[in-house]
Homo-oligomer: 147 residues x 2
């Protein structure tokens, strides 16, 4: 990762203490792209698979991370409005998710922000195990606001 | 709480290590009723309010806890299918949620379980701050299965 993104990744991994305890890791970050990993080791539940709330957290953090990777966070900040998660199968390995924003989509988000001071951004995520199987799908709406 | 429920509460608070680190607490448990609390102290986010994933966890654990308080868990077990959460306002205090199942509702869940081996149970929850304000609402579907 470029130094700029290393600094942002370190912030994302440490800014929220309980998320840091989960071991959330930024695997890759570049302009308009993020890949995150949640390790199973810190997040085992009572039946030996990854706890449902840790899977949720993996996707929820992405809703901030993708904006951190795409926009000037000295001018804007994201917040979460609503999230839906559907669990498909038990998560028995480390779990990853990735997302990218197109230039066109980012341009329209920033246009809305500059015009109205905020912009609702729906996101869809797949949470994948190490074999590439989808363990959960998430959809949600985040809102980016001007500071 | 009765001794039976003290034992079950201690299990709920300790069975999942990362949930234990959050400090999730069973405030009250009796037949077909549970009240849970998530302390803000362990769950502060980067802007000083409760992290969205910890709020989610409070409700997600309830989807197991209410069945633990209502049914014989040597015969049945719950799992989460899908959850929706809508964030209403920043959570700046400890947060609680409570739920009760009526005798009629429990009877119909157990009838479905005995007839088909499983029963889908939709639940609705309000997450309240210490002033009684709703900080988030959750709906979800849990499934109880026969062992």
């Amino acid at each position: 990762m470029d130094d700029k993104y290393k600094t942002l990744a370190a912030y994302l991994e440490s800014a929220i203490p309980i998320v840091s305890k989960m071991g959330l890791t930024v695997v890759s970050m570049k302009e308009r792209y993020v890949k995150l990993l949640m390790p199973i080791s810190n997040n085992i539940n009572h039946v030996g698979t990854m706890y449902a709330g840790s899977l949720f957290t993996l996707g929820e953090i992405m809703g901030g991370a993708i904006f951190v990777a795409s926009m000037d966070m000295s001018k804007y900040y994201p917040l979460v409005k609503d999230v839906q998660i559907r669990y498909r199968r038990p998560a028995m390995t480390d779990i990853t998710t990735e997302i990218s924003l197109s230039v066109d989509r980012l341009t329209s988000i920033i246009s809305a922000l500059e015009a109205r001071g905020k912009s609702d951004v729906p996101l869809e995520l797949e949470l994948l195990d190490s074999g590439g199987e989808v363990v959960a799908v998430m959809t949600g709406t985040w809102q980016v606001r001007k500071k």
